[in-house]
Symmetry: C2
Subunit: 216 residues, 2 copies
């Protein structure tokens, strides 16, 4: 049942990613030029000190083009992260356990994976993703107040956690609210501060400690 719901959702995300059907040749060319230029500038000067003007200039396009296609700073960051983020989502939906669901052999139910194990696997995988691209994730989440919670990806992580928490039975009272609380600890802004304060390893451990709430 839960898997069905999750798969349905994946189709939704799929549709959201490919708006209508076509893209004009010049638009595609410019999209690539912009993404390449942005990646280069970000790598060379650091994400936060590159202005949108600079990206447009380096890509050889006008500001109108840049903003029309990506919406705003956060959208540009999201586009750059798209590939990695999607890989993580695919691994969750259909990859091997414990991050993904139990393997679906031809026989009905394979080995069951404890939801709490999947919870911790998610925390680990998400931290790998976020810490590797912290500046970009931060840019995508903090460009505008509340941006993080309007991101399509946030909805995905949230639903995944809700499903896992619901599978844990009565240990978790309010899975919806609890999922939000768990995601708070994975916010880029917070991760950045925590890493700066105590380093990656201790930050990671602290995240797992919070994710134990549900297990208790």
């Amino acid at each position: 049942m839960e898997r069905g719901a999750a798969t349905g959702r994946r189709v939704d995300l799929e549709l959201m990613r490919t708006p209508p059907p076509k893209e004009r040749a010049d638009a595609a060319r410019n999209r690539v030029k912009v993404l390449d230029a942005a990646a280069g500038l970000f790598a060379r000067h650091g994400v936060e000190s590159v202005s949108m003007d600079a990206v447009a200039a380096a890509a050889g396009v006008g500001k109108g083009t840049l903003f029309r296609r990506f919406g705003d700073r956060a959208g540009l960051a999201a586009a750059l992260l798209n590939q990695r983020e999607r890989a993580l989502q695919d691994a969750i939906l259909s990859g091997p356990a414990p991050l993904g669901p139990a393997p679906l052999g031809p026989s009905e139910a394979g080995e069951a994976v404890a939801p709490s194990d999947r919870l911790h696997a998610f925390a680990d995988a998400y931290l790998d993703y976020a810490l590797d691209h912290l500046s970009l994730v931060r840019m995508s989440e903090t460009a505008t107040p509340g941006a993080r919670y309007r991101l399509g990806a946030y909805g995905f992580w949230h639903r995944h956690l809700v499903i896992l928490l619901d599978q844990m039975g009565d240990a978790v009272r309010d899975s919806e609210a609890s999922a939000h609380a768990l995601l708070a600890v994975l916010g880029a802004e917070h991760l950045a501060a925590m890493v700066e304060s105590v380093g990656r390893d201790r930050a990671r451990a602290a995240v797992h400690t919070v994710f134990d709430v549900a297990t208790a």
Copy 2:
């Protein structure tokens, strides 16, 4: 020992609040004008749709004056919150249990208060404070990336939590990192999203669930 450390810190905060010694009469007059004007505009039009220009104009001062005194948007918000925030800090340092320390009767140790009770009392009191002024707290935390973690107040809350977690013995591995994680759930940005999504009561309950980590 811990109380001694906490008291010493309070003195630090005290000193930070009263920079050198004096304030010129015109400066004091203008500070009041600005705070009044800002409070009025914020109440009438909502915090996020009031520009700093508008505040300066309504207060009848120049932009230079406004920014010189308060630094930036976040500083203005912090100044408006100062009174409430300080009341909460005082209650934590010297108020009645369980939010404050155990009452210090003339006889040595009064009734001991369990650290976990103080932890939950803090969560409640902080939520009362933050939810009552959510827009302002949010403005003080999100004006600039990472602003929240540079705020003096953040350091205060963090130290308070570290002290309580340390008092809980071996249940908590890394009190410093754990305190950061707990505070993540109290971030204004996150609280706003959570309240919008599930309402105040469920948000409050979820915070307490996370604060149980330490108790487990």
